[in-house]
């Protein structure tokens, strides 16, 4: 029997779903699974017991909060797809702000009619079996995790910082140039596209296991203001462990 698969999206940019479409999913995977729920790609969607459910996006409305509990109930394996699901994503910057003022700035007198919850990452709401990190995810990570899951293997975690990817690309070190960079504490395996394009790593995949944040902060404080360090960690994975503290001003 073909595995039953669902892809759900909460509030987000849908860029990780675009990366799924950019991956070998359509060409290599689609024929071998029963895709029961994928609102972006098909009109007939149904709830069943899913073998694997991918959940993209942040929980930002009460409706979405109910939805993720429902997804968990129906799914054998839940995979958080991308940094909004894993770490709250860019919209979780609002968690550090006065949300009333923020809504008033955007919606004026109608601010009260808008619901924007305090954004929790998916693992703080339901049990998540695997995380595919990144803003956006890289297609290769998705392909690897999917093939591991369908083969009954446990997907392996990346254990090296982005610096390893960056060095292997032969890039000059951003930190040595005096640019604030999250590479040393960030979860690698992305191929370091940002430093390769002349920009610093902004830690979109969250921290690697046991990051040396104290050493990183010591380095950053020599070259950057407190505000710049806060901005760096309060960006694409603001609710990730440790990033949350630094982004919240504990440094």
């Amino acid at each position: 029997m073909k595995p039953k698969v669902a892809i759900f999206d909460l509030t987000d940019c849908e860029g990780c779903e675009v990366q799924v479409v950019n991956s070998k999913f359509i060409d290599r995977v689609l024929g071998g699974v029963e895709l029961l729920h994928f609102r972006l790609g098909q009109r007939v969607n149904r709830w069943d017991n899913f073998d694997v459910a991918f959940v993209e996006g942040a929980v930002i409305t009460t409706h979405e909060l109910e939805l993720v509990h429902n997804i968990r109930k129906h799914s054998n394996i839940v995979v958080a797809l991308g940094s909004c699901a894993c770490f709250g994503g860019i919209a979780a910057i609002n968690n550090f702000m006065d949300i009333k003022e923020a809504k008033k700035y955007v919606y004026g007198d109608n601010a009260d009619k808008i619901e924007t919850l305090y954004i929790k990452p998916l693992p703080e709401i339901i049990k998540v079996d695997f995380m595919i990190r990144g803003c956006p995810i890289v297609p290769e990570d998705f392909e690897r995790v999917v093939s591991d899951i369908f083969a009954g293997r446990t997907p392996r975690e990346h254990t090296r910082p982005v610096c390893m990817d960056c060095k292997s690309k032969g890039n000059p070190c951003q930190l040595l140039k005096g640019i604030v960079c999250a590479g040393p504490v960030s979860y690698g395996g992305c191929g370091a596209p940002c430093p390769s394009a002349g920009m610093p790593c902004d830690g979109c995949r969250g921290p690697l296991e046991d990051p040396q944040m104290n050493a990183e902060l010591e380095l950053l404080k020599k070259i950057a203001s407190r505000d710049d360090i806060i901005r760096l960690f309060r960006k694409f994975a603001p609710m990730a462990p440790i990033f949350k503290e630094v982004g919240g001003g504990k440094l």
Partner: protein, 416 residues
């Protein structure tokens, strides 16, 4: 009668609600229920260099125009003039983006409507050649964005003043070759969409696009309409008004008090005489004529644009392959407020930022193509439901969805 499910095969979460009483359409609502991420608010306090990357996160389907509208607005605010080759690279990024976004919409989202299948799995099972064509086109479009911006989804290195890292002439040469390899796929796409049967419906509409005085719309210009309205980007607030509707997290827009339409059909309707040669020839022999007031023809306009922008990408990358050179990035010369306008796949996009003398963003306002189209979508829905009122409810539901989807709405963008 209430149709209360999220519409499938569109970007983001929205519902169409209509009430029919005594044989009359009494209410139509496009209810956009995407969560509000409040971008305009949290971009305040960020450095100008990081804002284009952050703005691109508004939409993973069309990150390039958000990145570039931000770059252009920030440059206007900060008094930065960029070189001709930087503008060309940006036009190349827009062309690449529109090619692959239209391919996604036409094959993955809209095709099912016209081929009478349920979605991507069935399109793939029954029309494998079409899906492979889509994959080839998208790969090259993505490649174009990646070469210029450093990554396909959410470009990295595009910042005020230019690019943190410029591509090489060799990359441009390869890119030109890549784009040449998909021109026939794009022509096939046009032929496929020209042969489809679109619902018969017409409503006189005002169309808006940007005009740089020379090219088919892409990266910069003032705003013009098919009815002769012309204004500068910085004057947008005098013409385009945003307002709140209690059932939608997206603000609705009107221009001079009424609905208007942006997107592929608007660009083709106004500027069809500026299409590149192959696209222009295809249009001459097309069974469907432009200008068209049938919103379903937006899908054919998208297919036509895939040909045009592919030709454009070939032209620009060939030219840059021989003349691209290293340059210094110009720096901030003033503080102030600036507006940027670009063409996104789904239509004209406006970003506005205020930047202080330290390069920190202090204010933001973003007007998104789907937000601009909302009023027009409701007006079209009202008209098409009224014309077809005798049809069974299920068919009306289907027709309403088909119309909504033909606009290629992006609700993640429009709510932001």
């Amino acid at each position: 009668m209430i149709y209360d499910e999220f519409v499938t095969q569109i970007e983001g979460h929205g519902k169409i609600h209509f009430d029919i009483r005594d044989g009359k359409v009494v209410e139509v609502r496009v209810e956009i229920q995407e969560g509000s991420r409040l971008f305009e608010s949290f971009l305040r306090g960020r450095r100008a260099e990081e804002v284009p990357q952050m703005s691109s996160r508004i939409c993973g389907v069309c990150p390039v125009p958000h990145n570039l509208a931000a770059v252009q607005a920030l440059e206007n605010a900060m008094g930065i003039e960029v070189s001709e080759q930087i503008k060309m690279l940006r036009e190349l990024a827009i062309a690449s983006q529109i090619v692959h976004s239209h391919a996604l919409h036409l094959y993955v989202l809209a095709a099912a409507d016209y081929l009478n299948v349920s979605g991507i799995s069935e399109v793939y099972a029954k029309f494998p050649e079409a899906v492979k064509r889509c994959i080839r086109i998208r790969a090259v479009g993505n490649r174009g964005v990646e070469v210029v911006g450093g990554r396909a989804v959410h470009p990295i290195n595009s910042i005020p003043g230019g690019f943190a890292k410029l591509p090489t002439r060799l990359e441009m040469e390869k890119l030109a070759k890549d784009f040449r390899s998909i021109i026939n796929d794009c022509i096939e796409t046009f032929n496929m969409f020209a042969s489809l049967k679109y619902p018969r419906f017409e409503r006189a509409t005002e169309y808006l696009a940007i005009d740089d005085g020379k090219h088919f719309p892409a990266y910069s210009g003032r705003l013009v309409t098919n009815r002769g309205l012309k204004f500068e980007a910085r004057e947008y607030r005098n013409y385009i008004k945003e307002f709140f509707k209690p059932y939608s997290n997206t603000k609705f827009c009107v221009m001079n008090g009424h609905g208007f339409h942006v997107g592929a059909i608007a660009r083709v309707n106004i500027f069809k005489d500026r299409l590149n040669p192959i696209a222009s020839d295809l249009l001459k022999n097309s069974p469907i004529r432009f200008p068209s007031d049938n919103p379903f023809h937006n899908n054919l306009a998208q297919a036509l644009e895939m040909v045009h922008y592919t030709e454009e990408a070939i032209r620009i990358s060939e030219e840059l392959a021989v003349k691209l050179k290293d340059e210094e990035r110009p720096k901030q010369t003033k503080a102030g407020t600036g507006v940027g306008v670009v063409e996104a796949p789904r239509g004209t996009l406006i970003h506005e930022y205020t930047v202080d003398e330290n390069g920190i963003v202090r204010g933001a306002n973003l007007i998104i193509p789907t937000g601009m189209n909302t009023t027009n979508i409701e007006e079209d829905l009202y008209a098409i439901l009224t014309e077809n009122i005798k049809k069974p409810k299920d068919e009306l539901k289907k027709l309403a969805e088909l119309l909504f989807r033909a606009y290629d709405p992006c609700l993640s963008c429009s709510t932001h």
